[in-house]
């Protein structure tokens, strides 16, 4: 990797390139990882290593919308389990799964820094806070 004087390293940066690839196709397929490795002149495992390290990068196909409910202690204390159950019931899948129509992927996540408004979740990049089971259906409706 270049360590020269250019101020913004973005064009040389594997993580930035991976994020761009994921933004284009929703996840990092085997072929997209191979292509990135080729363009950076690095072994495939190096790109795969980065892609599989971070929880916001996906190496399997994801739904159009990704639900991430926080399960860390501050949200746990505010009973995030009933929110998890409400989402399960609403979309019919468990954490770690994607709906058959590809509309939602459902994940549990570690602390997202919204503890003062727990329980909280992210859908894609949107924060949803002070959740109640009753609000889940309405919130999910706006994600097509």
């Amino acid at each position: 990797m270049s360590k020269n004087n250019s101020l913004d390293k973005a064009p040389d940066n594997i993580l930035v390139a991976i994020k761009e690839a994921q933004a284009r196709s929703g996840y990092l397929s085997r072929s997209s990882i191979e292509k990135l490795a080729e363009s950076f002149h690095v072994p495939i495992n190096e790109v795969y290593g980065v892609a599989s390290f971070y929880s916001f990068l996906a190496i399997k196909p994801m739904g159009r919308n990704v639900i991430r409910i926080c399960r860390s202690l501050p949200c746990y204390l505010k009973n995030c389990q009933i929110i998890i159950d409400a989402v399960k019931q609403e979309i019919g899948i468990k954490p770690g799964q994607t709906t058959a129509d590809g509309r939602f992927s459902f994940e549990l996540t570690n602390c997202i820094g919204l503890c003062d408004k727990a329980p909280a979740m992210l859908i894609n990049n949107d924060a949803h806070v002070d959740l109640t089971p009753e609000r889940i259906s309405q919130i999910l409706k706006s994600y097509k």
Binding site: L7, L15, S72
Partner: protein
């Protein structure tokens, strides 16, 4: 001790989208003043203020800057760590949401002091919704001519707790897996792209413009002998009023959790998140300061209805998942602890487990590569000390 606003003094007063509202409130005056001083004088002012890092480790900020300034090399970097991932921490989110300009001014002063032309802000991916606001603030500062020969790039993470650790964060900015580095060399000598670098927490840098404007004498009168200034706390859990509170360092924990956040029937408080300390209620008068307990200021309150073992089990589960896996003591030690704590959680602990937990704690503290593994056993050690009955009751006879 009263609430004092140094770090948060412009939050809610300026419009975080409009740089002119910041300039109207003396914004960028400290940067102008700093540039009329020599870089060495700026560093001396920060050193004399006693400002210590607010990300948890408490390293003196001025010494860090001095280290990077005196390291040989033309190319140097200043990095702002906006990757607060510690469980229960959200103060930097509040700061970024309300006052990105003071942070930018602080980074620019750091850049001038260290002799760097390039700053980075590493923002956690979970805060993507703040990216436009933050980049917009940087753009406005640049367009208004405040950066002048210096630039700031906002780089986003991709979801990894360990990237809040300074060496893992730099690996991540370089586009790699966020794994901790062996030290030495330290970042001030060989940091980002192996160049001399300083890395400071958001809140640390927020203090800098005030120190430059009002002087180190003013700042060093606030707080305790070894903990100067204020601290911004993130309070959550079993409290009536969760939120962000700024207090003079040395304020007793009781004032924060009971008086301000309206907690009742407290059983214990976790200070500093998953890698933090556990304080039982009878120690609630402990002053919050570096010489006692502080961390990054995450305060999670648990009331009498909570189960100690379950809290520790969940804490360790988090750490085992977030361990980067590079060093054995952290990777294997945290997994082994999860296994044992899960047994206790089910009421099926073994007598020898207590000894094994203590041995694992010692090993991890002594031999882990970074702060994650070195601090991971704290919740186990503290609860074995203060809540040993809770363990004893779960041992299968």
């Amino acid at each position: 001790m009263p609430q004092v606003r140094i770090v948060l003094n412009k939050c809610g007063i300026i419009d975080p989208k409009q740089i002119n509202t910041y300039v109207d409130k003396d914004g960028f005056k400290a940067l102008k003043k700093a540039r009329e001083m020599t870089p060495e004088a700026v560093i001396n002012e920060v050193k004399a203020s006693g400002l210590r890092g607010r990300g948890g480790a408490g390293f003196p900020c001025g010494l860090k800057w001095e280290g990077a300034r005196s390291s040989p090399g033309e190319e140097k970097y200043v990095i702002c760590n906006a990757d607060e991932g510690e469980v229960g921490t959200f103060k930097d989110r509040y700061i970024l949401e309300n006052d990105p300009f003071t942070l930018i001014e602080g980074i620019a002063i750091a850049g001038y002091a260290v002799g760097s032309k390039q700053g980075y802000i590493y923002l956690r991916a979970e805060y993507h919704y703040l990216l436009d606001l933050l980049s917009g603030a940087v753009d406005q500062a640049r367009e208004s001519g405040f950066l002048d020969g210096f630039d700031i790039v906002v780089r986003e993470g991709a979801g990894a707790y360990v990237c809040g650790e300074e060496s893992a964060l730099m690996e991540s900015i370089e586009g790699k897996r966020g794994e901790s580095r062996y030290r030495p060399p330290f970042p001030t000598v060989a940091g980002l792209w192996q160049k001399p670098s300083t890395i400071n927490n958001v809140e640390t840098l927020m203090n800098v413009p005030q120190i430059i404007l009002n002087g180190s004498d003013w700042y060093s009168k606030i707080g305790t002998e070894r903990s100067k200034g204020t601290k911004v706390f993130s309070v959550s859990g079993d409290v009536g009023k969760p939120g962000v509170y700024e207090l003079v360092l040395g304020t007793p924990l009781r004032e924060l959790v009971e008086t301000l956040a309206s907690a009742q029937n407290i059983k214990l408080v976790q200070i500093g998140g998953a890698t933090g300390r556990i304080v039982p209620y009878d120690m609630v008068d402990t002053p919050l300061a570096f010489e006692n307990i502080l961390g990054a200021g995450a305060i999670t309150v648990f009331d009498e209805s909570r189960d100690v073992i379950n809290i520790v089990y969940r804490t360790m589960e988090f750490l085992a998942e977030e361990s980067c896996g590079k060093c054995t003591p952290c990777r294997q030690g945290s997994e082994a602890m999860v296994e044992i704590l899960e047994r206790f959680d089910r009421g099926k602990g073994l007598k020898k487990d207590i000894r094994v937990l203590k041995e694992l704690s010692d090993t991890m503290i002594l031999s882990s590569l970074c702060g994650l593994g070195q601090a991971a056993p704290f919740s186990v050690m503290d609860t074995l000390k203060y809540f040993s009955n809770d363990y004893e009751k779960r041992i299968q006879s």
